[in-house]
Symmetry: C2
Subunit: 408 residues, 2 copies
């Protein structure tokens, strides 16, 4: 099994491909027409999908895998990759980008029906991904453990610098002033909450339902002497109470689900100062309503849904007369972030294989590479939406203040 | 009639108000509770709506007007103001802002049902407003005849400077380069088209259905020696053909109507370069779907509808996989623009009264003042939406380039 997983050249015992296999391969290839890829069967028979040289060859190891991919392309491909029954020879990200670009051309918006994420289900979803162990995430995230899109003022800065720039960019958009109060929904390992308290002198109540992340965040608050200004609360976003001058949520909306945007809007409306309250949501989105890859939802992010703007705006903002001040799409910043994560992941892949197993490594490799490819191909977006109460007139005249004094 | 129109103190022959009149006044006052206003009947009986001093007194001249306002508040108030049967003593804009703020607190999003604007109806709608005569608009618009929201880098710059800054801001967002082609839908008197050709060296095809505006724009193109690079076309946006690197529309979407966002999206999709095409829509919008004041739709802008973002995004962008890159809300810039317009309007009010009549003057005064108030009260928004084809990766890393080198 191990040998098949890592070797491209080993001859398998499978019988030579026949006419039916080749017909099936043609069917798989059809929606990918024009992609710079070669698809190859277990016996060397293959198809090159474009006239130019392919960026990679996708090896399909056996007939069962071929059929499975024909019937359920996304799930079949992902599961076979995890199992080593599909191998990608060449640049994995480039190959997945070719697939994403080919498929994106054929996309049409589809109504989204997903199981609602009630509080119990949300805890299960979050636990599945974010409680894999802080030691694991420390191997490949930046030092502050930011697991959301960084902000690259230039494409050549380090992940650390880009994550710090993201925190600063978010704080500037929130127009924080010392002594103000902030609620953060879904605070990860606490880096933004701590940054806001430390650099902007605000008081933060930060909510999360990942026990591992909360433990880390509280320890960090103590270590940095900020535990009088930052409170980390074990609680679902629906339980947020009290009041705040600003509301911020970075990388949580993807886990809320379309059935609960109204719940989130109700919470924001309840918490936010009725006159000068303002906020920011940062989330992975789409250009149009579409269901996330079934493979990702099953093996990486249960219950996740990156929404189109039109899915989010009515429930969260419009029904509360919250005013959209600014939307920024940072799509390519997430491609760079994921590139940095994947590089660090590969640097520590032996350790990670020992922590988990080879299937885990391949699942995460495909997830990180596939996500990078999806952002490069324009299939995924990263939206920062800044909003405010409708009658607040103390607004900056331009957005120049977001760019003043920062590293050019 | 003239005397009643302009005088606040003239005693009318109406009988003293009775219990029923006062009950009706109470009903009118109820949704305005807290507004810093005094409502006063023809015999001096009045109500002050807040504890503080009122910014203005609204005089209701007779019983018929009182009843009409009770039954159809927006339409009744507007018509009575035009007729001089309602007078506002004090600051008109401040009074209307008080009303807008009071009403905005009670707003709930409502489904919008409007008559479709087919090509014939669109021509009628546009003709009604924009073909009132170039001489009229020259009296109170800036020298380039820009009849859309200006961009105030600081609140103290002139209307002329703010309109020029708007043109520059739009061009920067479009990332125009010499030799590229631009389609403009709804070009007004042509100022943006001419600016793009002159300052950015692009070729522009600009569409409009206002004959007066087109005549002016073509003459300007000749005068400025730009008629080889700018073509002004008498045509509805639905007739736009050919191809372009960029698509821009400033102040037209308000006249398109919700039934036709899909038509507009189809046009953009047809025209725009399939790989690196990009564009910008600049339009008056709302925080949530709501019908425009019936008075405005009847007497000022037939067929108009300023949409919430959620109304526009699916038809125009999402169904075409166009990617939203940037949304900027310039609400308070429109309040300043309208303030400047109203001031110039009042400076030339005697001329305008001769061109039209007193009813026209009062209609336009209420429209300009009411619009300024609506932007101040957060009831109206001004959105600039920048978009691009989904796979174009030649994007600026930050929006800093929008702010570099411009007047600070």
């Amino acid at each position: 099994m191990r040998a098949r997983t890592t070797s491209f050249t080993t001859q398998t015992a499978a019988p030579a491909s026949g006419a039916l296999d080749r017909w099936t391969l043609d069917r798989i290839a059809r929606p990918l027409a024009g992609a710079k890829l070669r698809l190859q069967l277990w016996d060397g028979h293959g198809l090159t999908l474009s006239s130019g040289p392919p960026v990679a060859t996708i090896h399909i190891r056996d007939r069962r895998t071929l059929l499975r991919i024909a019937i359920r392309p996304e799930l079949g491909f992902g599961e076979a990759y995890t199992d080593g029954r599909v191998e990608v020879q060449g640049d994995l990200v480039a190959a997945l980008e070719q697939i994403a670009r080919a498929l994106a051309r054929q996309r049409t918006p589809a109504p989204v029906r997903l199981a609602p994420n009630d509080e119990r289900r949300s805890r299960h979803n979050v636990h599945t991904h974010y409680d894999l162990g802080n030691d694991f995430y420390r191997l490949w995230l930046d030092e502050a453990l930011l697991y959301t899109c960084a902000y690259y003022e230039r494409p050549d800065v380090s992940l650390e610098a880009a994550q710090r720039a993201k925190l600063e960019h978010v704080c500037r958009k929130l127009r924080l002033r010392p002594g103000q109060t902030v609620v953060e929904a879904g605070c990860g390992w606490g880096a933004l909450a701590l940054y806001m308290a430390r650099e902007y002198g605000v008081k933060v109540r930060a909510y999360n339902i990942s026990t591992n992340q909360l433990a880390w965040a509280r320890e960090e608050a103590r270590r940095q002497g900020l535990d009088d200004r930052v409170t980390f609360i074990d609680g679902d976003y629906r339980t947020i109470d009290g009041s705040a001058d600003a509301f911020v949520s970075v990388g949580m909306l993807e886990h809320v689900g379309p059935d609960h945007y109204d719940d989130l809007g109700r919470v924001i409306d309840r918490v936010l100062d009725p006159v000068h309250g303002r906020g920011l949501l940062h989330f992975i989105g789409r250009n149009s309503p579409m269901v996330l890859s079934e493979w990702i939802r099953r093996y990486v992010f249960p219950g996740a849904h990156p929404p189109a703007l039109s899915e989010v705006l009515p429930g969260v903002f419009e029904s509360r007369q919250l005013s959209i001040l600014d939307v920024e799409n940072l799509r390519l910043h997430y491609a760079l972030t994921l590139k940095a994560w994947l590089e660090r992941f590969e640097q520590h892949v032996d350790q990670i294989r020992v922590m988990f197993d080879e299937r885990f490594v391949r699942t995460w490799r495909l997830y990180l590479a596939g996500s990078q490819a999806a952002f490069l191909a324009g299939d995924m977006q990263l939206f920062q939406v800044t909003f405010a109460r409708p009658m607040a007139n103390d607004l900056p005249w331009t957005r120049r203040y977001l760019y003043e004094g920062a590293d050019a």
